[in-house]
Amino acid sequence: MYSIGNDIVALKAVNAERTITPQFYNKILAGTELPFYQSNCPGIPFYQFVWLAWSVKEAAYKCLKRIQPDLVFSPTRTVITSIDPPTVLIDKIPTGIPQTGIDEPGCYQIILSINSHTLYARSIIYGNELINSIVSPDPILSKVNWGINKTSAIDPDSQSKAVRKLLKERSQAEVIKDDVGTPWLNTADARIPVSLSHHQDWIGYAY
């Protein structure tokens, strides 16, 4: 079954000082993941590495929960097994972000393992502003449709409406939720797995 998960982290909303304490990052990182920071993530501060890990794990959980509704989110048991760093670091959010495919030079390409599943992630860190992650069971993410946008409101209900509005404008389709609360994009031809995310004043989607 095809699935997808996304997550965004508004970096200005996180407590960077707290993030770099072992008490904090040991609740997110598995023991085998710490060495990836030194060897595979040059040029980013440690707190961003921790939130990069959080972001792909949260997106992986959302991706797999669609297939296993009883799945419990456990960051330290969602294990990053590989990180290929981007060839360029992106220092700010550009205008005209492509809405299809996420294999650009600014992407971290990450592989994760949850239980017996292998999942594939692409993440972009936009300077000190935002981390955007998308996870799929399919290693090829070149056909994924995605988007991020800044909103004026930070309350969850307004963000939820804003991300649905953005999706409607771009896909011409409505988001519906099934009996267990899983979101789908309801197009004229099919129901497509869609993942929605918001944090602070940012919203994002992927399908």
Binding site: V14, K27, W54, V72, F73, P75, T76, P156
Partner: protein
């Protein structure tokens, strides 16, 4: 410390992470942190660490993953306090 006292203190820990003050005032053991209080999942680790500091306990990842519903949070804190 009984469950009611833990719940009262837990409300204070949760307060900075939710904008829904009506739901916070009505918190009970069935309240779901994400679905009902609309707490962003990115704040869950902060809440666990705030609870650790408040009660001077250590909450490991096996316990932390249960802390999605208020009643489960109280279970974890209660068991950690008893283990001291």
């Amino acid at each position: 410390m009984n469950r009611t006292e833990i719940l009262d203190e837990l409300k204070k820990i949760l307060a900075p992470y939710t904008l829904d003050k009506e739901q916070l005032a009505a918190v009970n053991e069935e309240t779901d942190l994400i679905r009902d209080l609309k707490i962003n999942s990115a704040n869950l680790v902060d809440i666990i660490i705030d609870a650790e500091e408040k009660y001077n306990v250590e909450i490991d990842y096996d316990d932390a993953e249960k802390m999605i519903v208020v009643g489960s949070c109280i279970d974890v804190i209660e068991s950690r306090l008893k283990a001291q």
